[in-house]
Symmetry: C2
DNA sequence: AGACAAGATGACGTTTACGTAAAGAGAACG
DNA sequence: CGTTCTCTTTACGTAAACGTCATCTTGTCT
C-alpha cells in the first residue's frame, strides 16, 4: 500500500501552507493525522482532503462548508442515513457551484466588455495627444 | 435624467443588506452617496457599484480587490496613467477569474462523480437491506 | 553530556467585514 | 409640544482563519 506518510514540514512544503494552518485544520476536524509519539504524520487521505480544502477555499467556501463536503469524499464508515444527509448537502453545494459558474461567466464577459471600452478611451486619448504634438 | 436617488432603507430593501453595510462600504470608499442634510442619498451610480460589489463578494473577492475593479467601471475623471494601471489590475483579475472558472468546472465534475459513487453505495446497501427482509 | 533542530502546546494578537448598542439630530404626526 | 420614526455618528464587540510569540519535548549530532 502507499502508506507513505509525511511530516508536517513536508506537507507545508508540498502544499505551501504553514504548520499553524495544518494544526488549525486538525483542530477543526478537517484533517486527522496519525501520531508517532507526539509528532503528526499525514497520510494519503490527509493529502487528498487538504487538496480539496485548498480548492474549496479558492472558491470562497468557509471551512465549515468544506468540512461537510469532505464527508462526502470520505464516506468510510458512515451509516446510510448520514450518507443520505451528506448527499443532500452535496446537492445544495452543487447547485450553488453551478449558479456561481454561470454568474462568473457573466462577470467575465462584463469585465471584458468594460476593458474594451476603457482601452478605446485610452487609444482615442492617445490620438488626441499625438495630434497635439 | 434618471436622477432618481434612494434612501438608505430603500437601498437595504432593494439589495438585502443592512444600513451598517452601506455605511461601511462608504467608509471604505466603495460607494459615494450624496447628502441631503445629514441623510445619505444613493444615486444610480451607487446602485450599479453595489451590484458589482455584491457580485464580487460572491466570488470571494475582498472588498479591497473589488474597490480596485470598481475604478474600471467608473473611469470618470481618471488620467490616462491611472486608467492604464487600472487596466493592468483588471487583466490580472480576468486571468484569475478565468482560472477560477476552469477550476470550478473541474470541481463540479469531481463532485458529480463522487455523488454518483455515494448514490451507488446507497442503492446497493438498499438492495442488501431489502434482501434481508 | 551538551547543543541544536523540528515539532508540540498554549495563549494572545491581527485582519476582514460587518453586528450591535448608545446617544443625538430632524422631520412628522396627533 | 411631546412622541415617534428614521437616520446619523461613535464606539466597542464578534466570528473566521490564521499569525506570532513563549515555553517544552524529543530525536540527533558531535
Amino acid at each position: 500500500m502507499t502508506e507513505e506518510t509525511m511530516t508536517i514540514r513536508e506537507m507545508c512544503d508540498a502544499f505551501d501552507v504553514t504548520p499553524r494552518t495544518l494544526r488549525f485544520y486538525e483542530a477543526k476536524e478537517l484533517l486527522f493525522p496519525i501520531r508517532d509519539g507526539q509528532k503528526r504524520l499525514f497520510t494519503r487521505r490527509d493529502r487528498g482532503r487538504l487538496k480539496l480544502i485548498l480548492r474549496g477555499k479558492r472558491f470562497g467556501f468557509s471551512l465549515e462548508e468544506i468540512r461537510q463536503l469532505l464527508d462526502l469524499y470520505s464516506p468510510g464508515d458512515r451509516q446510510a442515513m448520514q450518507l443520505a444527509a451528506t448527499l443532500d448537502v452535496a446537492r445544495e453545494r452543487l447547485v450553488d457551484m453551478e449558479r456561481r459558474r454561470t454568474e462568473l461567466t457573466q462577470a467575465i464577459d462584463d469585465l471584458k466588455n468594460q476593458m474594451d471600452i476603457v482601452e478605446d478611451m485610452l487609444s482615442s486619448a492617445g490620438r488626441v495627444r499625438d495630434a497635439a504634438e
